[in-house]
């Protein structure tokens, strides 16, 4: 695949070109003290130094609130199909790009979700390799090729080689077309590849957290009733931060407001999420709700799609008011469940 080396100025020109061609360009930008993905007006106002924005590509493919249809008093139903806004998500980390892969699966599982797919088809992903992963990151644990420099899930991949230059690699056919639009910059040379490889190896070494996914899945599957879940969920206060900021959590609710039928994010951490119309609630205790989140990610999704629904981005711990640590909880599950000596055996 084709490669180029560009500088900041060239990257800015590229962003301007994309906008001229009718693309909405979404990239990490500062909002107060937060870093969030948002629309950028010029190439100059997106950030180049960050671990991960607080929100994720999910917000742009599966918005937190969207209208599905509307109706009139006469019973006429009007389907609302999302506008096909050509969007470029720029600066997507490999973990977030993998998360999009997971969302693709879920929104095309039993049927293709027209709302999601319409947006997805009109979205181009431009990745940015992680040269300095955070201590909370554990993306290399999942055995699906995910790592700080993984490029398979984007169209175009950027690797920051030094203060001045980026290596740009086309990954998909769309990426090839985009790359051909970049008039500035120089052709990529083998020395650039070597530099990128060194950065990749260094970044991978920086990720010290490692999870044995297969064992974890087995241990969890056999110990649903262990008291371990009561223990680990004690400091969870039951808010929805982890689910809403998670790049892969996709639960939603549907309600009518006025004459609109809306779909909006929902969270399994809320009491009402699992409450039946009878008033009965099978997840009546906070620990059952927390356990559900862990099991959905590490057991149920694995059974349905043979992948774990976690990409190791670390957002859930980073933004948790009480610092509940999903990595620690699943990584130490086996040892602690044995110690407790209850549950269904390891």
């Amino acid at each position: 695949m084709a490669k180029k080396v560009i500088d900041d100025e060239c990257l800015n020109q590229f962003v301007s070109l994309l906008r001229q061609r009718g693309y909405t360009v979404v990239a990490p930008r500062a909002e107060g003290s937060r870093i969030v993905y948002g629309e950028v007006e010029t190439g100059a106002n997106f950030l180049r130094e960050y671990i991960n924005p607080q929100n994720s590509p999910k917000d742009f493919l599966f918005p937190r609130r969207e209208e599905l249809l509307s109706f009139t008093d006469d019973g006429e139903v009007i389907a609302v199909v999302p506008e096909a806004v050509k969007t470029v998500l720029l600066g997507v980390r490999p973990c977030d790009a993998m998360a999009v892969q997971h969302l693709d699966k879920i929104f095309n599982w039993d049927y293709g979700d027209i709302y999601y797919n319409r947006r997805r088809r009109n979205t181009i992903l431009i990745g940015l390799a992680c040269n300095k992963p955070d201590p909370t990151c554990f993306c290399t644990s999942f055995g699906n090729g995910l790592g700080p420099h993984q490029k398979e899930n984007v169209d175009l991949m950027l690797t920051k080689l030094d203060e001045r230059s980026y290596l740009v690699e086309a990954v998909s056919k769309t990426g090839e077309e985009l790359l051909s639009l970049i008039a500035c910059g120089a052709p990529g040379r083998p020395s650039h590849d070597e530099k990128a490889l060194k950065l990749r190896e260094r970044a991978e070494k920086m990720i010290t957290k490692r999870l044995d996914v297969d064992t974890t899945v087995k241990v969890l599957d056999n110990n649903f009733d262990s008291d371990y879940w009561k223990d680990v969920a004690r400091k969870c206060i039951g808010c929805g931060i982890c689910t809403y900021l998670c790049p892969t959590c996709y639960c939603f609710d549907i309600e009518d407001e006025g004459t609109s039928r809306l779909r909006f994010w929902d969270s399994c951490q809320f009491t009402v999420y699992s409450k039946h119309a009878t008033g009965h609630n099978p997840r009546d205790q906070p620990y059952k709700r927390y356990r559900n989140r862990v099991y959905h990610k590490f057991v149920y999704f694995k059974k349905n799609f043979d992948e774990v629904l976690c990409v190791g981005c670390g957002r859930c711990k980073l933004y948790c008011p009480m610092k509940v640590d999903i990595f620690k909880i699943v990584a130490e599950a086996e040892v602690n469940i044995v110690k407790l000596g209850r549950g269904g055996g390891v």
Binding site: R64, G240, D253, S267, Y287, M322
Partner: protein, 295 residues
């Protein structure tokens, strides 16, 4: 029971010792305190046996208001718990006692002197800049900080300059300010879950017959949520600012709360979480209650 005056490390070991005694004697089932995790971050911890008390720490990043856990089922199902509490946290406990949510005999308050807590960047928390509660006013044990013991703090009465600034804004501008904040809200309800005084078994937002506000994160629903949440806390909020701390999108929730704290102060001369035998002014009637708004 007052300890002798310690430096920070001495305070931590005093906390451990008190906790050990309480657990060994079977006086409490659990101690809720702070620990430092492997990555260096401070977070709440539940200690059930004396061997585990070594995990307990004290320092400048014990920002969480552990009184929040007193309203959670995980604590309520225990017979008796001890809570490590700063001066501000104790005010939440007093407010919970005033409202019949916490029975004094069921908890042991390990009060800890506090000269101020700092965020991850090392900056003093906003709530600490005008603190009048360096020493907890109610406690079973008091862990004394040598610095608090001798230092006179300069803040006398409550200070509302931030609220006044907002009150002086023209209405349109103020509405614009809150609309922009409401727009950011993702309706994660961390403000509700983190607040020690938000303890309703069923929150009005979770009721759907009738539905009080739209569930979806629209500007209207968000705005209503932010305001109604604050109204519910009128005369009850003690200003611990957990809502601010936990909000992932940095909405300055304390400003709405503090506006109501100020109003309640001016109208009723009342401050929440001070006197356990007092009742919050909005839950009692008195002939002296101000009623200028009627005529």
């Amino acid at each position: 029971m007052r300890s002798k005056a310690f430096n920070r490390e001495g305070m931590a070991s005093e906390i451990r010792q008190i906790s050990r005694r309480l657990l060994d004697a079977g006086e409490v089932e659990t101690v809720i305190g702070y620990e430092v995790e492997v990555g260096g971050c401070v977070c709440p911890v539940f200690i059930d046996c004396s061997e585990e008390t070594e995990r307990l720490i004290w320092g400048e990043q014990c920002v969480h208001n552990l009184a929040t856990f007193l309203k959670k089922p995980v604590t309520k199902e225990r017979n008796k718990v001890a809570v490590i509490s700063k001066g501000c946290d104790v005010r939440s406990i007093i407010a919970l006692m005033q409202e019949g949510q916490v029975v004094r005999e069921d908890i042991v308050i390990i009060g800890v002197d506090c000269i101020g807590q700092r965020d991850e960047k090392g900056d003093l928390l906003l709530k600490c800049t005008n603190c009048r509660d360096h020493r907890p006013q109610l406690h079973d044990f008091l862990v004394v900080d040598a610095e608090v013991d001798v230092r006179r703090f300069d803040v006398e009465g409550a200070e509302y300059s931030d609220v006044e600034e907002l009150e002086e804004m023209p209405v349109e501008e103020r509405l614009g300010f809150w609309k922009a904040e409401a727009e950011k809200c993702i309706r994660c309800y961390a403000c509700r879950e983190g607040c020690p005084l938000c303890y309703c078994v069923e929150c009005f937002t979770d009721q759907n017959m009738p539905q009080y506000l739209p569930s979806s994160p629209s500007i209207q629903g968000n705005f209503l949520w932010l305001m109604m949440r604050a109204f519910d806390l009128a005369g009850r909020c003690t200003g611990c600012m957990e809502c601010d701390r936990v909000c992932p999108v940095n909405i300055p929730l304390h400003l709405v709360n503090r506006k109501l704290v100020k109003d309640v102060d001016e109208l009723f001369g009342y401050e929440a979480g001070r006197n356990p035998s007092e009742r919050p002014p909005l839950s009692v009637f008195s002939e002296e209650d101000p009623d200028e708004f009627i005529m």
